[in-house]
Symmetry: C2
Subunit: 220 residues, 2 copies
DNA sequence: GTCTATAGCCCGATAGAC
DNA sequence: GTCTATCGGGCTATAGAC
């Protein structure tokens, strides 16, 4: 990483060009996999969209499964893998809702995630380990954040942090699927907000109560 | 449907045999699609498992997409399509938890549902309409049941029946995916019960309170 | 690094004998 | 109804010229 960028011809020409090519392939693969899934896509489709031959594509990614894993990791590096150290200034609710709205606006992100996640539960799918580990990581991360809130009395009594963590992730994934099949009939952010309002206690601020707070009158 | 069962040779021989063959194919296709998804499966795989040639299979189901739709409808006729008129003796919670535990015990049911549902969001997938309509039907059915409970004061104040209906379905689907990837780490029925306990008010029966009821003390 | 050519295989669907 | 044979095509991956 010093001034000598490359041992080959020009300073950083080949490296930069190679990186550009890889990025073009990843962009194309993201779109193709999102539209047809992993098994429904071909390397030829990706190569055509990227403007190169199928064999040139295989020069950068030696196999189709390597390309899939590269796309998944590339997606994490852009949208975040969901376990980035949470900004202490931002509440859990705000972070979840912000991410949900962001995903809704970027075309292909939810399609890719949903179809690959579904495919990944099948035998021998190259993305299976990725999603297994992703879910474990996410459950741990949210459970930790929810346990922290419980310690501050911000979790509704009787709510188990581990259960709520898995449920939040599940609700999120499931509502994305419904939204993809009927965008006009499903309110992703609304469902997530409603769940968080059920699980969390609004911050103690009697002067400016949270807008989404539910009436919490005793029942029965 | 009178005494004359068939216009062909023996009384009901040919029809019965044909129905058996179709059932054998559907059983095999269910297993193969569950293990590899629709795009990852071949008619040859299904035919091998059913003990016949691939062309014989196509005699009963004229195309691969026809076979898929037949499997989906066959599954509905066995496990119920989720909108069967609810037994008035059984509560919503009991019905959901019973179905969840049933699905957990029948091998392949959740695998099939999860992978096909994920694939179905892709372009041109033959199961897309099925899942779109299924979700619409389920949302209406649960929303109606929840609205009825709301009228009886059994819904937690501030909970919207439509939002809760979509959320319940989403949570259910999402937790199935997590369970398939980590059966030992996820408690499907526990997550569903926890959500229903958050949304529903336990039946008014001061002498025998619901076992899963949460403390509902006022907060904040 | 890029390409053409192709190996080697699998696919869904059809034709037609029996 | 069942089969063999096959059509016409697509697939991943490799070989090798330039």
């Amino acid at each position: 990483m010093s001034t000598k960028e490359g041992p080959q011809t020009s300073r950083r020409g080949p490296y930069a060009k190679s990186a550009e090519r890889r990025r073009a392939i990843l962009t194309a693969a993201h779109a193709v996999f999102a539209a047809h899934g992993y098994r429904g896509s071909s390397l030829q489709d990706v190569a055509n969209l990227a403007g190169m031959s199928q064999t040139s594509l295989l020069h950068y990614f030696p196999s189709k499964s390597d390309l899939l894993l590269a796309v998944l990791n590339w997606r994490d590096s852009i949208t975040g893998d969901g376990t980035a150290p949470p900004d202490p200034e931002e509440s859990l609710s705000d972070a979840v809702l912000r991410q949900a709205r962001f995903n809704e606006d970027v075309p292909g992100v939810l399609e890719l995630y949903t179809v690959l996640c579904g495919e990944a539960v099948t035998e021998g799918h190259p993305g299976r380990d990725y999603f297994t580990q992703r879910f474990e990581r996410l459950r741990r991360s949210y459970a930790r954040q929810l346990a922290q809130l419980a310690g501050e009395g911000r979790l509704r009594p009787g709510v188990d942090p581990d259960t709520a963590a898995a449920s939040l992730i599940a609700l999120w994934d499931g509502i994305q699927t419904q939204w993809l099949l009927a965008p006009g009939s499903v309110d992703m952010a609304g469902c997530l907000r409603a769940y968080l309002d059920l699980v969390l206690v609004p911050e103690e601020n009697p002067e400016r109560a949270s807008a989404g707070a539910l009436p919490l009158a005793p029942l029965g």
